[in-house]
């Protein structure tokens, strides 16, 4: 099991991998350690989410992706 991601430190522009296999890019971070605002880049379980902004829960963030 990988170490939990400390989302407080994630700057806008950071790409994150989510527990359901989706990927998103952070657009704002209130730094409360619970939520980040992010835009979906991919969403295998619900493709309609791609391009949408949503609040992402800390426990759903499983990894930080390198920027291409």
């Amino acid at each position: 099991m990988s170490a939990p991601v400390n989302i407080r430190d994630l700057a806008p522009g950071t790409r994150i991998a989510l527990a359901d296999g989706a990927e998103a890019e952070i657009v704002d971070n209130p730094a409360d350690g619970v939520w980040v605002f992010a835009r979906y880049l991919s969403a295998p379980r619900d493709p309609a989410l791609v391009g949408q902004e949503d609040m992402i829960f800390a426990q759903d963030v499983v990894a930080i992706r390198p920027i291409d």
């Binding site: 704002d28 209130p30 409360d32 350690g33 619970v34 829960f57 426990q59």
Partner: protein, 461 residues
């Protein structure tokens, strides 16, 4: 008169016919619990000042009665006051005094709210709630009514309470002295520095009564007068107006608001003040002339301590401050004090006033320390079973108030006692407790808005 066997509020504890008030209303825990519902859940309460939240996302955590509330400005610029308690399990959603945020996030389970109060984040909304939770229904609890009066933010939990301007009644002009510019322009005040907060081991009504207009306790401040902390290096204040004005106790009987103030003679400006600070003296001299030009005869009013029912104190002259007496149990009060200046005043004036305000007010202020000593020990000495058998005396000046007071063409509304010669009366305290007893006995605002009944009667006649 009640004894220590009193379980809760009942008529007779406040007996204005005899001028006696039971100590029970200050120390009895059942009465305190009733106050939270009957007074603080129904009255308009001061929450803060808009200059504390100038930008979208700014917030200031305040109190209404015992309960924590968030004063904030949403992304669209609208001002809100919310109960600081998550709708899921009640945790505080904001544990800072002030700041800026896009969301208020509960640290317990993670429910998150926008600055407009809407529930925007629910962990596992799709998975655990199956997207069925009605987020519109579970936003933060918002006050029933909010009023931005010249920058000061007031709120009430009671949707049936009258609008704030009606709640103030004829007391409005005394709050205006606090919030308008010294030169008479409207809504020119801003908060200077932060809010001072401290605890005093006394019931909240001790400071509320004191600031209603207790001139009788001046002897308590004798040492401060002797030390000479005033802005001109003597006494507590520049009080030249005392020698030329009429000094009044003014009470608005159906509202429960009351104050001391001075009325200058017609055509006369206040005597010079700020003797050792020429820039400050010139600023206020100029402002006084402008105020008289803008306000006419009403520019003759000079403010002094007063109280807006139930727990907001005014002091528009020296030092220019407002305070709220937050109840923290029957035996403890959390005092919050805001300091005001004209926003356009020169930096030298603001700096001078800051130094003076700190000398006078707050937990380190010499005058306020005197007051705290009195409230602290008076409360402690009133808690015992023997002490509770013996009421306080509020008879001073009973029966001497008039309702048609006029001084050189200026008619002053309300019940007025001219204390220029008699020095003191307890009419402000009687007015405060009369209203307090009405709140404690009333079923709802149809009982409390007594002036509406009187207005209807006048129309009928």
């Amino acid at each position: 008169m009640a004894s220590s066997g009193t379980k809760g509020y009942h008529p007779g504890l406040v007996d204005l016919a005899t001028g006696e008030i039971s100590r029970e209303i200050f120390v009895n825990e059942d009465i305190y619990a009733e106050e939270q519902e009957r007074v603080f859940a129904r009255a308009w309460l001061h929450v803060g000042h808009e200059s504390q939240i100038p930008k979208p996302g700014d917030y200031f955590v305040s109190s209404m009665g015992e309960e924590s509330v968030i004063l904030c400005r949403d992304r669209a610029g609208a001002v809100h006051v919310f109960l600081n308690s998550c709708r899921h399990r009640g945790m505080k959603v904001c544990r800072y005094d002030e700041g800026n945020t896009p969301v208020f996030t509960c640290p317990y389970h993670g429910w998150s709210y926008g600055t407009d109060g809407r529930l925007v984040g629910v962990p596992y909304f799709r998975e655990a709630y199956h997207s069925r939770l009605d987020k519109e229904k579970w936003g933060l609890v918002e006050v029933a009514q909010l009023c931005n009066y010249k920058g000061s933010i007031w709120a009430t939990w009671d949707a049936a309470a009258p609008p704030f301007a009606e709640y103030l009644g004829d007391f409005t002009r005394y709050l205006d002295l606090q919030l308008d510019g010294w030169d008479g322009r409207e809504a020119q005040a801003e908060i200077l520095g932060g809010v001072q907060k401290w605890l005093v081991p006394c019931n909240w009504k001790f400071p509320a009564e004191n600031f209603s207009g207790d001139t009788y306790h001046n002897i308590s401040h004798r040492s401060v007068d002797l030390a000479g902390i005033g802005p001109s290096g003597a006494g507590r204040r520049d009080m030249g107006e005392r020698d030329v004005s009429r000094k009044l106790h003014v009470c608005i009987p159906d509202r429960g608001h009351q104050t001391i103030h001075y009325v200058l003679p017609s055509g006369e400006l206040p005597p010079p003040a700020y003797a050792n600070a020429p820039i400050v003296a010139e600023y206020f001299r100029h402002c006084e002339e402008e105020k008289r030009r803008r306000r006419g005869d009403w520019g003759r009013l000079v403010g002094a301590p007063g109280e807006i029912f139930p727990n907001t104190a005014l002091l528009s002259r020296q030092p220019r401050t407002m305070a709220v007496w937050h109840p923290r149990g029957p035996h403890q009060t959390e005092c919050w004090r805001w300091f005001f200046v004209d926003r356009d005043a020169p930096a030298e004036v603001k700096g001078f006033l800051r130094d003076y305000y700190i000398r006078y007010s707050g937990p380190a202020g010499m005058t306020e320390q005197d007051d705290m000593e009195n409230w602290n020990y008076a409360h402690a000495a009133s808690r015992g079973v023997i002490a509770r058998r013996h009421p306080y005396n509020y008879d001073q000046g009973s029966g001497t108030a008039v309702t048609d007071y006029e001084f050189q063409g200026l008619r002053v509304p309300g019940e007025v006692i001219d204390i220029t010669e008699v020095q003191s009366s307890e009419q402000p305290a009687r007015n405060f407790y009369r209203r307090w007893a009405e709140f404690m006995a009333a079923g709802d605002w149809s009982d409390l808005a007594t002036w509406r009944r009187n207005d209807k009667r006048a129309v009928a006649e």
